[in-house]
Symmetry: C2
Subunit: 148 residues, 2 copies
């Protein structure tokens, strides 16, 4: 996720919210900017901490409320990786999309994408007769850096 496409996302997100009839909001702007510059998913608590340390903090209620709004508009996905809290990550407006390896050694979340995997998911989804709106793949194991 390059810085260029990230700030692009922030603009896109603000435009979508505007078109949906939402007023401007300081907390929302701060959260959008924060998410835009992240390389990977953040938890709500991490967002709270980051903002508190910056010049524009936001209350916990606002954070969850805003994240839900962004999710409803398809600007953000919520990931449940199993470490107690769920994590939030921006969605590329171009429709690109990735999954994660949760490294059991260092605890990091490593993003990856694969067209073949996406095709397999579409195929099984059709075969089973589901109408799917989204999906999540989480691998558990060791990332490249943690293998010796």
């Amino acid at each position: 996720m390059s810085t260029a496409s990230a700030s692009e996302w922030a603009e896109h997100a603000r435009a979508v919210m505007d078109q949906a009839g939402h007023r401007k909001g300081g907390a929302r702007n701060a959260i959008i900017d924060l998410l835009a510059e992240q390389p990977c998913a953040l938890s709500a608590i991490e967002i709270e901490d980051h903002l508190r340390r910056s010049d524009r903090s936001a209350s916990r209620a606002s954070i969850y409320r805003i994240l839900e709004l962004l999710q409803d508009r398809g600007l953000v996905v919520r990931l449940d990786v199993g470490d107690a809290s769920s994590r939030y990550e921006l969605i590329d407006p171009g429709g690109e999309h990735h999954h994660h390896l949760l490294c059991e050694s260092c605890g990091r979340l490593v993003p990856f994408d694969d067209a073949g995997l996406e095709r397999s998911i579409d195929r099984v989804s059709r075969r089973m007769g589901f109408r799917t709106h989204g999906h999540e793949v989480v691998l558990r194991g060791d990332c490249v850096a943690c293998q010796h």
Copy 2:
């Protein structure tokens, strides 16, 4: 998951725990029997409720402790589907393994499996240089029954 293979799993689970040097335990037996007869994943709280309504209840501490033990022995998987609490499900001793659709209309968890999907996951895992111990796929959408 047929009743036959389910009680087979219960026997298998008890044998594994026995071989690992664990003593018999009332709470553990009750949880194994309960899991054995479930069609799909249960949350820890649901297990607590089920047992309380039966003749053999178990404390919350025991439930989590036992589920962790079963997970360590590869008898159970923990799924994080995003509805706050995580869910636990037995693992087929034959090594078969399935994934889930979380129906956004009725809230049910619908199991499915697909060999092509498994192959795709192995392939991308190798391509990325990960050493994976497990994985999870969750689709979100409408199950067959909820489409009109």
